[in-house]
């Protein structure tokens, strides 16, 4: 049994931002990096399914697209308990369809029983890579899954798809399938530093990128959004702010 988990190392912008000279991206000096929160849930879910099945030779394989830097995020998954990691070497930022095209050959090669992606990445918030990848792999898919009950021998899984408002759509999907995993599905385990350090000894397979075709979009210009009219800043210390808030509330609730 094999589950492939596609993970992303996301960029985190702090409270200051500068743009590159061509104004098409943020200056990387202002970025920090971390494993995408959704992907830690996805990795945890894959590990739990593997532990539940308890078979010999079951594998959880993490795959990611990026340069050497993204191996940090992958090592976290290895430290959590994933068996192998594969990186598609690609240094530029990419839209979700392009990423899916880069992931597809690897996922195909692995012939997994399940493929997990996070619902979305916290930096891009496109929520598209998983579904696009499923299409390229020809797999049935369900997006935004909050619970999985998989019967490998029957070739299908019953999953809970979380709609707006918290409504659950109980869905049956043929497997092998690709599922995009929503936060809250489990509690991702802590990867302690010893495990992370041991993961650093593990070889991460690096593959060269396949044909990506045309990108889905091109960024023409990136800029700081207008704060909206009337985003009036309340000045002063906490006491002043609290007083102003009270005034505003009283006035608006009249």
């Amino acid at each position: 049994m094999k589950i492939v988990v596609c993970v992303k190392q996301v960029a985190v912008l702090g409270d200051e931002v500068e743009f590159t000279a061509d104004a098409r991206d943020v200056d990387p000096d202002y970025l920090d990096f971390a494993l995408n929160e959704w992907d830690s849930y996805a990795t945890e879910e894959a590990l739990r399914i593997r532990e539940g099945l308890g078979g010999e030779g079951d594998e959880v394989v993490v795959v990611s697209v990026g340069d050497e830097q993204v191996e940090n995020a992958m090592r976290r998954c290895l430290a959590m308990g994933a068996d192998r990691a594969i990186r598609v070497d690609y240094a530029r930022s990419a839209d979700p369809i392009t990423v899916a095209r880069l992931l597809a050959p690897i996922a195909e090669r692995e012939s997994p029983d399940l493929v997990f992606c996070g619902v979305q990445s916290s930096d891009g918030v496109q929520a598209a890579t998983g579904t696009a990848l499923a299409e390229l792999l020809g797999l049935p898919r369900v997006a935004v899954v909050t619970r999985i009950e998989w019967d490998p021998s029957a070739g299908r899984a019953t999953v809970r798809r979380e709609l707006e408002g918290g409504l659950i759509d109980l869905t049956e999907v043929d497997t092998p399938a690709l599922l995009t995993i929503q936060t809250g599905i489990n509690q991702p385990r802590y990867a302690n530093l010893r495990a992370i350090k041991q993961a650093e000894q593990k070889e991460i397979e690096v593959v060269s990128p396949a044909e990506q075709g045309e990108p889905a979009y091109r960024v023409r210009r990136m800029f700081a959004p207008s704060k909206g009219e009337g985003a009036e800043i309340l000045a002063g210390g906490p006491a002043d702010i609290a007083r102003r808030i009270r005034e505003i509330v009283e006035e608006r609730l009249k």
Partner: protein, 709 residues
């Protein structure tokens, strides 16, 4: 008549032979008991040996003979034990002398010394020390039975009321006092019956025995009646004594052997410098998960506990409704050791435990382990040298290895790994606090400086603490100190990360800090964060660094003494000073802050719990990163401390010198409803005020008020 007595007067040869037989049996049982104990200890992890054995023996001898550890914080109990100890020792030596005389000196060497002056002095000593023994026992009985201080009560914070299961302990405690009292009593009776028989005048050298004998004689007990009584009493006392000796390894009396051994085994750096995890350790070798994981010397320490309860009384967790008592932790581990490896296991007496059974779970619950603030109050005060703090730390390591921790702690640790600080802020924000200053702070990565100022997380990122940091920066500049900071290269020093049990993350942080600091040129490292102070000074040794680390209380005092800082106006405040755990108990720095406070003219009033008895604010051991574990109705440690300060009466300021203390106590003053009755000042802020410079400095959370220095 020659002043002497015959040991076996009135006994037939067969009776004497039987007596020696009983000695052999009693000794055999005693030896078997001791061997069982040693075998139990040897099952611990690692070799059963001690480094520097002579130094240890000598230290143990001094500590035991002077009772220097026992008498701390309870001189009455200390005196009581002193009397019991020396009473018992002298009586024991007295019996040994008898044995030597009867079994070796007289028959083999033909040397009969047990007479005349020797006998008279001997008798006096034994009577006096026998009486001392009884007095000591009375003191202890009074303590346990009548005074019943908090520390001697068996209430457990981690079990529901009434379910402490300590009846056997109570019985054992009284039985121990009882048997010793019985031995002393029967000994005196034996003596008085012997004297009453013929009433020789030299026996006045046994004053107590003599007096009681006269009373008995007055009641008509003389001659053969006395001899018969003596005969019976001889056997009663003799069998009781042999029985007691045989029972030593199996009862509370074992502490006579285990406690000095524990004192000898004590690691001076216990809790202060923790042992590393070997690089090749497997998951089930990390920390302690089963009783077999404890090293032999800790198994010895478990047996040394006499349930004095001093750790229980000192522990801030126990006193604030957390499910932790260091005493109960040690006793629980002891019971597991006995039930899995010890005599109880050998004799199949309940409760039994599997030796490979996990001790973390039902026996010692995770929340018990997570409640610890690693403040070292328990280790500090234990009269027999038990090392509760490293034991808890090792068990935490196993929990971390298994990933069993609350989500808040997990998030903080992940955050520290990702950003290098516990606030989850980008590293480039570390030096944001410098923007408020009207001068540039040197980047010590780029230029050398005399002082490398390691700022620390709380001092860098927490708004209230940033004010102290800024004040300190201004003060250092005013004093002409050449200092620099690491800017974004600084990482959390790792003290609390280590105490939480995440050794791997600690190593990682340490590596990064050493890399950054080693590239800099400086004479000394300064910090106002005691946690950073402690760990940089004591726990970075694996990297072979030769740093001279100084806390700002020491450094500022130096500047004042050198005249580089000149307090202009003595501050007329009545203040109390809270010793931070990592500065005080961990590093013995108690005087410099006090000297500094005196130098700026404040009137220091000490709280009842000060110096090595300081009461932790509750943030230590990583607790500031964890969910609340205490009972809702119990006051927080920090709130209790504020109450303690207020009880002194008329105190203007509660003075601290640790950033976590600043945070905890500013909070506690508010939440305990005492805002306005007392204010918090950090040491730096008071010193700054005393310099009386004409610069406005906000000093305290007064909602934007400004105060001129």
């Amino acid at each position: 008549m020659t002043p002497t007595r015959s040991t076996f007067a009135g006994l037939s040869t067969w009776e004497i032979v039987f007596w020696y037989f009983l000695i052999a049996v009693s000794t055999a049982i005693f030896v078997w008991g001791v061997v069982r104990l040693v075998l139990k200890y040897r099952r611990g992890r690692g070799p059963f040996y001690f480094d520097r054995p002579l130094t240890r023996l000598r230290r143990a001898a001094v500590v035991v003979l002077t009772h220097s550890w026992i008498k701390r914080r309870d001189p009455v109990a200390g005196a009581g034990h002193f009397l019991i100890f020396y009473g018992f020792v002298v009586l024991f030596i007295g019996t040994a002398i008898l044995g030597f005389e009867d079994d070796f000196a007289k028959p083999v060497l033909g040397w009969d010394f047990f007479r005349n002056e020797f006998y008279e002095v001997y008798s006096l000593f034994l009577d006096v020390f026998g009486a001392a023994l009884i007095v000591g026992l009375v003191v202890m009985a009074y303590k346990r039975g009548i005074q019943r201080p908090f520390r001697l009560r068996y209430w457990r914070p981690d079990r529901p009321e009434g379910e402490d299961g300590r009846r056997l302990y109570v019985i054992g405690d009284w039985a121990f006092l009882g048997i010793l009292f019985f031995l002393a009593l029967t000994g005196f009776l034996l003596e008085s019956f012997r004297i009453a028989e013929t009433n020789p005048s030299f026996e006045v050298w046994s004053p107590l025995g003599w007096t009681v004998a006269q009373a008995f004689r007055g009641l008509g007990l003389t001659g053969t009646t006395a001899a018969d009584a003596h005969f019976v009493q001889w056997w009663v006392h003799g069998v009781a004594a042999l029985g007691f000796v045989a029972s030593i390894p199996f009862t509370k009396a074992v502490h006579m052997l285990a406690s000095p051994a524990s004192v000898a085994s004590r690691d001076e750096q216990a809790g202060r410098a923790l042992a590393p995890i070997p690089a090749d350790a497997k998951p089930d070798e990390v920390g302690y998960g089963t009783i077999l994981d404890l090293p032999p010397r800790y198994l010895v320490q478990l047996d040394a506990c006499t349930k004095c309860g001093k750790c229980h009384a000192a522990c801030p967790a126990t006193n604030s409704g957390y499910p932790l008592s260091p005493r109960d932790l040690i006793l629980d581990l002891r019971e597991v050791a006995e039930g899995a490896l010890g005599i109880r296991h050998e004799l199949h007496l309940e409760p039994l435990y599997g030796s490979k059974e996990s001790i973390i779970g039902d026996i010692i619950r995770p929340e018990t382990l997570w409640s610890c603030m690693q403040c070292m109050a328990c280790v500090e005060i234990c009269p027999v040298g038990i090392e509760h703090v490293p034991i808890i730390n090792q068990m935490r390591r196993r929990l971390v290895e298994r990933g069993e921790m609350d989500a808040t702690l997990q998030q903080t640790l992940e955050s520290i790994y990702e950003t290098g600080n516990s606030f989850g802020e980008a590293s480039r924000k570390r030096a944001r606090w410098t923007r408020e200053l009207d001068f540039d702070v040197k980047d010590i990565r780029k230029e050398p400086a005399e002082v490398l100022w390691f700022v620390g997380d709380y001092a860098s990122f927490d708004p209230r603490n940033q004010r102290v940091t800024q004040t300190l920066a201004r003060m250092l500049r005013h004093a002409g100190v050449d200092f620099g900071i690491l800017y974004d290269a600084e990482r959390n020093a790792g003290c609390d990360v280590r105490r939480v049990g995440e050794e791997g993350l600690f190593n990682h942080l340490r590596e990064e800090n050493v890399k950054a600091i080693s590239n800099c040129t400086f004479d000394r490292i300064l910090t106002w964060d005691p946690h950073s102070f402690h760990t940089l000074r004591n726990e970075y040794g694996a990297f072979d660094v030769d740093w001279h680390v100084v806390h700002h209380s020491q450094f500022l005092l130096e500047l004042v003494n050198d005249g580089r800082l000149a307090p202009k106006k003595p501050l007329d405040y009545r203040i109390t000073y809270h010793d931070p755990c990592t500065l005080g108990r961990y590093n013995g720095v108690y005087d410099e802050p006090r000297q500094l406070l005196a130098a700026i003219g404040t009137e220091l009033v000490e709280m009842p719990r000060s110096r090595d008895n300081s009461f932790c604010c509750g943030a230590g051991g990583g607790r500031i990163w964890m969910n609340e574990l205490k009972r809702d109705d119990a006051p927080r440690p920090s709130e209790q401390r504020i109450d303690e300060a207020l009880a002194l009466g008329g105190v203007d300021y509660f003075v601290v010198c640790c950033p976590k203390d600043v945070t905890m106590y500013e909070d506690a003053i508010k939440t305990s409803g005492h805002q306005g009755e007392i204010e918090l000042r950090e040491l730096t802020e008071l010193v700054w005020e005393s310099l009386d410079l004409v610069l406005p400095v906000p000093a305290g959370d007064r909602g934007g008020e400004e105060e001129h220095a």
